[in-house]
């Protein structure tokens, strides 16, 4: 049995119907556990005080924002190469989830920045490239919305996604060159003291997995919706043509 069998819309709908409950429950559970653990049962950081609790939202959201784009890239490639409609629709379904994750990362980051850096926003490379990512999401979604013919829209958005990825990476380097940052380094250690980091890392891992599963659940569900919407469109067009 080949994996491509799930590229049939009907088969996808049937399968996702079975997987959905598992995904909903597990993601809900893990997110709840992770966030409650992080919010209620972690100590304050000696420098950042209680603001460190924001990390349980901020980091998983940032992670998923990037991964969502990556998933869209893969799905777009699959559509371009193998032309499975489900994969194009999955990319379409993922974009709004990705943009919400980006917004959460931006919002929590901005709120966190106020006490830590004394400003809501700084043109730090990491933050800036996130803002650019947000713009890419906006353009991608706007292009889907603007084009009427579904196959054309799928083709064009896939190409935009491919080209956009290249330019997003380029922007990342450009931004790095342009301004040196304030932002935390890309490691899980919050400060030099290893043991403190440990206390935060476990709930953080739980949250990350929870956010990942949540993303999957949303994408599955939304892909189903997109499939149905696409089918409605096709049915209505048929109905009119027969008339």
């Amino acid at each position: 049995m080949s994996i491509w069998e799930y590229a049939n819309p009907r088969k996808f709908l049937q399968t996702s119907e079975r997987v959905m409950p598992v995904l909903w429950v597990s993601s809900g559970l893990l997110m709840a556990v992770g966030l409650i653990w992080g919010f209620f049962f972690t100590p304050d950081d000696y420098r950042q005080g209680s603001t460190v609790k924001i990390i349980f939202l901020h980091v998983p959201a940032a992670l998923m924002a990037i991964n969502a784009w990556f998933m869209m890239l893969v799905a777009s490639l699959i559509w371009v190469i193998r032309r499975h409609h489900v994969s194009a629709l999955a990319a379409k379904a993922a974009a709004p989830v990705g943009i919400v994750m980006t917004l959460i990362a931006l919002a929590t980051g901005a709120i966190w920045g106020q006490p830590m850096w004394g400003t809501w926003w700084a043109w730090d490379p990491r933050l800036t490239s996130f803002l650019v990512l947000f713009l890419f999401y906006l353009g991608y979604i706007a292009l889907w919305e603007a084009i009427d013919n579904p196959d054309t829209a799928a083709d064009l958005t896939s190409i935009l996604c491919l080209v956009g990825t290249v330019f997003a990476v380029l922007s990342r380097y450009a931004v790095n060159f342009w301004n040196q940052g304030l932002h935390q380094g890309a490691s899980l250690s919050l400060d030099e003291k290893e043991n403190v980091a440990d206390a935060f890392s476990n709930p953080l891992y739980v949250c990350m997995i929870g956010f990942g599963l949540f993303f999957l659940a949303m994408v599955f569900y939304r892909t189903g919706t997109e499939i149905r919407a696409r089918r409605i469109k096709a049915l209505m067009a048929r109905q009119r043509q027969e008339a």
Binding site: L35, F39, F40, D44, G49, S50, T51, K53, I54, L57, H58, A61, P96, V97, V100, L103, I104, A107, T108, I111, W112, Q114, P115, F214, M218, Y221, R222, G224, T225, R228, A229, R231, I232, L235, M236, R238, Q239
Partner: protein
């Protein structure tokens, strides 16, 4: 009930509130549209099957 968040309580709470709000918004919109589309498709399919 709430842990002691010290002088940063506003910051932390608003970060959690904003994020949970955004997540909830996403979920609600997704489910709302999902339900509607599913219902529309079912009625349309039935009608078309009936009319041949």
């Amino acid at each position: 009930m709430l842990p002691d968040l010290g002088k940063y309580s506003e910051t932390v709470l608003s970060a959690y509130a904003a994020s949970l709000l955004l997540l909830a918004l996403l979920v609600v919109l997704t489910l709302w549209r999902g339900r509607r589309v599913r219902r529309d498709m079912d009625t349309l399919e039935q009608r078309m099957r009936r009319d041949g």
